[in-house]
Symmetry: C2
Subunit: 234 residues, 2 copies
């Protein structure tokens, strides 16, 4: 990863770790250059990136201020790093319903941009926060990229496994969402009646070369389906 | 606006105008420098911004490719420029229910970060696409910034009016959303029963100095509540 992106990530971590809130002021550029061990021009570039991503705003002659990077209980869809890193402070427990190898149907082929004869790892999980059901997830990984998967791995953070053990680095993602009736299967996991409307969130995860390696369908129980997206006008 | 942000916006317009799709290749940097009448370093900076915003991806040695900037029928929440510019190709008709000056209650004060005795323009509108109800919106503008408003203005694009006539430039925004029961008032406008669950979208709009000038609550009829958020991992 190029230096300015790494620094941008470190500044984000600094904001989250210090639980900085909207309008809180960041140190001046000279100070950040020392703190983050980078040149001033790298800091400036990192800040431009963070501004574009909606994490800070820069007021000429006044300073650099934090936006809503982290809001307790709400999921920032501009930070696709997985629930455990987005819902800061919450302990998430994953229960694995199933891990199996399947052939993709038409929908899966479309979302994964893959051939019908490819092997796909299907991982089905439920997520709990403080013992309460939080979400239900079905993920599809192309075996071409995710060469091995099992239940034990799926109980932890799959993305951490991919990065640490398979050298697979997610680069970018799409989130699609809409309000839909849950249906029988989803409702049973989320402990609702099948007519209940919930938020269906579909994610596509891309590698740096543009290939899609993971597609997932997530359903949130209504109480936990609270999201936000910081963005800007250019 | 600094040059590289302007160029970033022009490249986005180029992508949208040409209805470019995921994985479509953009011209090489030399060519873009000529097409957009900018230096190569400005193009590079604009591309880094667009990458951070999830609109393109750059593959070393291979080229610069488009991501999902524009998907027919879906609203890109990373492009907060208003419905008419996000839902490309759709003709949106706004009907004004009410425009009045009010004093803010506790919720409005919190979202607008304003004092209880400030004057607020409340604008209530319904939106239609092809004669069908699309959404219901209540917006609150601080009169301190939006000095004048009436029904005729509210029938058009309020943001175009603010920029062209009041010299007010929105700089960034927050979108919050959750699944909720509509309740009697919203359901009557969206032609649903009050128990219907819909997507409630709350927006906060900021000026470049960090002040909030507009806060709005939007309800989408379930069929039209289709959103996406492109993002990335740094």
């Amino acid at each position: 990863m190029v230096k300015y992106k790494k620094i941008a990530q470190e500044i984000t971590n600094y904001i989250v770790d210090n639980q900085m809130k909207r309008h809180d002021k960041l140190p001046v550029i000279d100070e950040m250059a020392i703190d983050f061990n980078a040149s001033k021009s790298t800091i400036v570039k990192a800040l431009d990136i963070l501004e574009a991503k909606g994490q800070i705003y820069q007021v000429q002659g006044s300073g650099i201020f934090v936006r809503d990077v982290y809001i307790p209980g709400k999921i920032n869809l501009n930070r696709p790093e997985g629930l455990s890193r987005t819902l800061v402070g919450a302990t998430i427990v994953s229960r694995v319903v199933k891990v199996e190898i399947i052939k993709p149907n038409a929908t899966i082929q479309e979302y994964l941009e893959c051939d019908p004869d490819e092997d796909i790892y299907m991982v089905e999980r439920t997520r709990y926060i403080k013992g309460e059901i939080h979400s239900y997830e079905k993920s599809y990984f192309r075996k071409k990229y995710v060469r091995y998967m099992n239940e034990q791995i799926a109980r932890g953070s799959i993305f951490t496994y991919l990065e640490d053990n398979l050298d697979l680095t997610p680069s970018f993602s799409n989130a699609f969402f809409q309000v839909k009736q849950m249906g029988v299967e989803v409702a049973s996991y989320l402990e609702c009646s099948p007519e209940t409307y919930g938020l269906e969130l579909i994610n596509q995860f891309f590698l740096s070369n543009g290939a899609i390696f993971d597609y997932s369908v997530l359903w949130y129980s209504p109480d936990h389906a609270k999201f936000f997206v910081p963005s800007n006008f250019y």
